[in-house]
């Protein structure tokens, strides 16, 4: 069996914006190295979740090992760690980068570098990674590879003539990418003989085998039978199997310093294998753990409740399972007078939230109601203590509150100059404060704004896209907290307050928001057998009212031979819709109602 030295290992990931062709390039690399036979070739090989393929995005980081004979005649082991591109999943990128020595920077030849990509490149540079720039999609008629290469040189400082020009779609230039990986990226450093140190960069739960831990070996050797210790978690386990991804799991006798692979050790408990932790051996433990990386912290919180209250325990177990694959997901029990027992979940952003909800429903067969996401407010109480509130309903009475602070973010936007006007207008509408503006080579500009986080969590990204015809991109990070005049908006349905519909809004916008919220609710709450009053109130004072009129007629005149089947199918469909609704008092409220606060036209 040929033993790899680290000299012949290259660990790299791909940094790219959504749609810049990362998954296609990865597919080509797998093909060229014969890792996946042509017969088994599906598109987006590494996006294994149904959701990823449907949405054309990468959610989870994935790893794959490729064997490559380079032009120098030597055999190399290339480990590609695939990373997500959406702004919500930036933390997955950091995890992947920490396990690599280099990265391919893939930029669309007709689009240029996007804000998100730039942020990830800086992350990679901070971690000391070597960058190989790849200009993709050169086969497209509107591509301008030279301009994009210039831009890369101006922004990142890598000479334009070092950019590889490829078309992942046609395969042109892809062979050069493999050569560049071998030539330009350094092999991993690490000592085979030193005490074991392996970085956990991901893990997933396999219902039959327990936790599969994705590791990047730094020092030492790991094999079946090793007694391992989680340096932060302190758990000890016996390794049952080690292996590599090709791209399916394939067991090997050992993993050595520099390699990327997995281990299985009958780890059953979710909390026992923390991503970012260092694995060592109990027999000869390492003295110093590897630098972990900062745990991504949630930016928005929402209540997740089973429609059927009997499913509470199932939901709890499902969340625990998901959390194993998704380190950024947090949850704790929550009780709502309206929705019963559920969980307050923390998410990185709205896409993250949608994906978690969809996975819970699909993979665990749960019917859920999710409340509108909220940011976390800092509330200074008159009695002197301060509390953090991520659930609008828990905002204390106004007379007990000294002040409320809301979280703000610094948003960086990269966009062609012609769209700056519309984008600045959008930022102003969302209570933003202008930061600075910087022109970049080509026709593009980097714009920064300081905005309340609550103003960008919902449709800001979509708005940004629509006001720039898809050309603008953004990145953001928390910049601090600021005191604002905030109030709680309550919603009463048929005379009773529904806690799950409460929202925290700016005082100046409160009555306007209240009015539009009840109007919106009127549109989404279906007619009941009786009239339903909808009211918006602030501090007990009703500021807006709408009425959902009673259902007047739904019966059909004829119900003969074939009509019966038609009617039954219609009723079955309606019953399914009804099961998705939550009965609050005597009113059935659909999921959309709980999100209504997000979809108010401005």
């Amino acid at each position: 069996m040929p033993s790899h030295t680290t000299e012949h290992i290259r660990n790299f990931s791909i940094i790219a914006h959504i749609d810049h062709g990362k998954s296609t390039l990865a597919d080509r690399l797998l093909e060229l190295t014969g890792t996946v036979s042509e017969r088994d070739m599906t598109t987006q090989v590494l996006d294994t979740m149904d959701l990823e393929r449907e949405r054309g995005i990468t959610i989870k980081a994935q790893a794959v090992r490729m064997s490559y004979r380079a032009r120098d005649g030597q055999d190399y082991e290339l480990n590609l760690i695939d990373t997500p591109g959406h702004v919500d999943f930036a933390y997955e990128v950091s995890r992947a980068l920490a396990a690599c020595e280099g990265a391919l920077l893939v930029v669309d030849a007709s689009q240029g570098i996007e804000a998100q990509t730039l942020a990830n490149v800086y992350k990679a540079l901070e971690l000391g990674l070597e960058i190989v720039p790849v200009v993709n999609k050169i086969d497209l008629p509107q591509s301008e590879p030279a301009t994009v290469a210039q831009e890369i040189e101006a922004v990142i400082g890598i000479a334009a003539d070092q950019c590889l020009l490829v078309s992942a779609r046609t395969g042109a230039g892809v062979a050069e990418v493999l050569e560049a990986v071998v030539r330009s990226l350094p092999p991993p450093t690490g000592e085979q003989g030193a005490p074991l140190r392996a970085l956990i960069f991901d893990c997933k739960y396999d219902p039959y085998r327990g936790v599969v831990v994705y590791v990047r070996m730094v020092d030492g050797v790991l094999s079946a039978g090793s007694q391992i210790l989680m340096m932060a978690g302190q758990g000890t386990f016996t390794v049952d199997e080690v292996g590599v991804f090709r791209p399916g799991m394939e067991s090997v006798t050992e993993l050595t310093a520099g390699e990327v692979g997995y281990l299985i050790a009958s780890i059953r408990n979710v909390r026992d294998s923390k991503v970012g932790d260092t694995i060592t051996e109990t027999r000869r433990p390492a003295q110093v753990a590897l630098p972990g990386y900062r745990q991504a912290s949630p930016m928005v919180w929402a209540g997740v409740f089973p429609v059927d209250s009997d499913s509470y325990q199932d939901l709890k177990e499902a969340l625990e399972r998901l959390q194993l694959n998704d380190a950024a997901l947090t949850f704790e029990p929550e009780t709502s007078a309206a929705l019963g027992f559920g969980f307050r979940c923390g998410f990185l952003g709205l896409l993250h939230m949608e994906i978690v909800q969809e996975r819970l429903e699909r993979e665990f067969d749960l019917l859920l109601i999710t409340t509108a996401p909220s940011v976390a407010y800092r509330v200074q109480l008159r009695e002197g203590t301060a509390v953090e509130i991520d659930n609008p309903d828990q905002l204390p009475d106004p007379e007990k509150v000294e002040w409320i602070e809301e979280p703000r973010v610094k948003v960086e936007v990269v966009a062609p100059r012609e769209y700056l006007g519309g984008i600045m207008e959008l930022c102003q509408e969302r209570r933003g404060e202008f930061g600075h503006l910087e022109y970049q080579p080509g026709d593009r500009a980097l714009l920064t704004y300081d905005l309340p986080l609550g103003e960008i969590i919902h449709d800001f990204y979509d708005q940004l896209k629509s006001r720039s015809r898809g050309y603008a991109s953004m990145d953001y990070h928390l910049s601090g907290y600021r005191r604002e005049q905030l109030v709680k908006l309550d919603i009463l349905v048929a005379g009773s307050k529904v806690d799950a519909l409460s929202a925290i809004v700016h005082r100046q916008q409160a009555s306007n928001q209240g009015r539009r919220l009840v109007q919106r609710l009127k549109q989404v709450i279906p007619r009941q057998l009786f009239e339903v009053a909808l009211q918006a109130a602030i501090g007990g004072k009703v500021i807006a009212r709408e009425t959902v009129p009673a259902l007047r007629k739904d019966v059909l005149a004829k119900c003969y031979g074939g009509d019966i089947t038609r009617k039954r199918k219609l009723l079955e469909k309606q019953r399914e819709g009804k099961q998705r609704m939550k009965r609050i008092g005597s009113v059935e409220i659909p999921q959309e109602a709980f999100m209504a606060v997000l979809s108010l036209d401005r």
Binding site: R552, V555, Y560, R568, R575
Partner: protein, 389 residues
């Protein structure tokens, strides 16, 4: 579950006659316009299918229903061939009801006498309206006066069980049109009246026109007003509502249609026809499997149906075995349409029915629930409420 077990063999037979002289703009039924040439072969195919359905067993029929289409377009000798075949192949109960659907245009006393002589004892006349403006709006080929002539022909020939269809809530007509039609119709003392509100069906010319806003669709206001008017006027004339759209003098309820609403099995033959068989009767169609009942339906195109039968098949387009839950949903959906109501089968159903009774939508008598006049308007929702309980 139910107190009485449903009879295993069907006691009703539906025969579909797909021929029409024109396509009405609101109609989405399975019909064929170029009928003349097909008629012989079509009736031949029907007889073949009936033989297969009977499968050598004895079936006693309470009702036969010739629907369409326009069954009266069938040439007299073909009508005779069809009915005499049915009467020779099946046993007949003492109170046999044989209905034919008819369009008013060109109906003469002689035609009605012929039907009576063939054993038909009930005529369902599609007069739709006795108001010419309404008939024009509906795109019907007949006038109010020809409808009146048709009614007279039936009476002159001695028909004792006449049903007339009316359409109400027709837009662009002041409600006077329907009220006047109904009052005029009652002067002829029909034994049975069906009042259907205009329904805009998917894929009909009417639906395209409403969608393109060239025509107004029916309004709920007109529906509510005119339906209450119908209930009142008809009751005053001795015709009580016994189903959402159907009114009859005592003893003249449509026995055939009641089998649909009571969830009883019925045979159906002919293009586009839907039938329903008891759980252990799948063999009649050569269909394996089981469940709470078997619904089946035929190929919609007459020529295709004829070819399928000629090739030794049954002309079946599809079938569905019902689960217990589906049987229950159908039981509620159909049973609630009847003024006699439907049995409540669980304590939770009774509890939900009591809530609905407080809202004035249903009445409960013992273990039976029935929709009130207001409840009938929202029958789908009532069905869902009770089926969820």
């Amino acid at each position: 579950m139910t107190a009485e077990t449903p009879p295993r063999s069907p006691r009703s037979l539906y025969l579909h006659i797909p021929f029409c002289s024109q396509r009405c703009p609101y109609c989405d039924f399975a019909i064929n316009l170029s009928g003349e040439a097909l008629q012989d072969r079509y009736v031949g195919a029907l007889l073949e299918e009936l033989k297969l359905l009977r499968g050598g067993t004895r079936i006693e029929l309470d009702t036969v229903y010739l629907g369409g289409g326009t069954p009266t377009l069938l040439r007299p000798e073909l009508l005779e061939r069809l009915l005499s075949f049915v009467f020779s192949q099946f046993s007949l109960s003492g109170s046999l009801e044989v209905t034919i659907e008819a369009n008013p245009e060109g109906i003469t006393p002689e035609m009605v006498r012929l039907w009576l002589s063939l054993g038909i004892n009930r005529v369902s006349l599609g007069i739709q309206s006795l108001d010419d403006a309404t008939l024009r709006w509906l795109g019907r080929g007949h006038s109010a006066s020809s409808a009146v002539d048709a009614i007279r022909s039936c009476r002159v020939a001695g028909l004792e069980n006449l049903s007339c269809d009316l359409i109400f809530a027709v837009p662009d007509q002041d409600s006077g049109g329907f009220e006047a039609s109904l009052r005029r119709l009652l002067q002829f003392h029909p034994e049975h009246v069906s009042c259907y509100e205009l329904t805009v069906e998917q894929g009909t010319p009417l639906q395209r026109e409403v969608k393109a806003q060239r025509r107004t669709g029916p309004s709920v206001d007109a529906y509510l007003r005119e339906r209450r008017l119908a209930v009142e006027l008809l009751a005053g004339a001795g015709l009580d509502q016994y189903e959402v759209s159907n009114y009859a003098r005592s003893g003249f309820q449509s026995q055939h249609n009641l089998t649909y609403w009571k969830g009883l099995p019925y045979l159906a033959a002919g293009s586009g026809a839907h039938g329903f068989l008891a759980p252990d009767e799948g063999w009649r169609l050569g269909i394996q499997g089981g469940g709470g009942g078997l619904r089946y339906w035929h190929l919609r195109d007459a020529a295709t149906y004829i070819r399928a039968i000629a090739a030794g098949g049954r002309g079946i387009r599809g079938h569905e075995w019902l689960s217990a839950a589906q049987v229950e949903l159908e039981r509620l959906a159909c049973g609630l349409r009847l003024s006699e109501g439907v049995d409540l089968q669980s304590a939770s159903q009774l509890a939900r029915a009591r809530e609905l009774a407080l809202m004035g939508l249903v009445e409960i008598a013992g273990s039976t629930v029935r929709a009130t006049t207001g409840g009938v308007d929202v029958l789908d929702r009532l069905t869902l409420e009770l089926s969820a309980a």
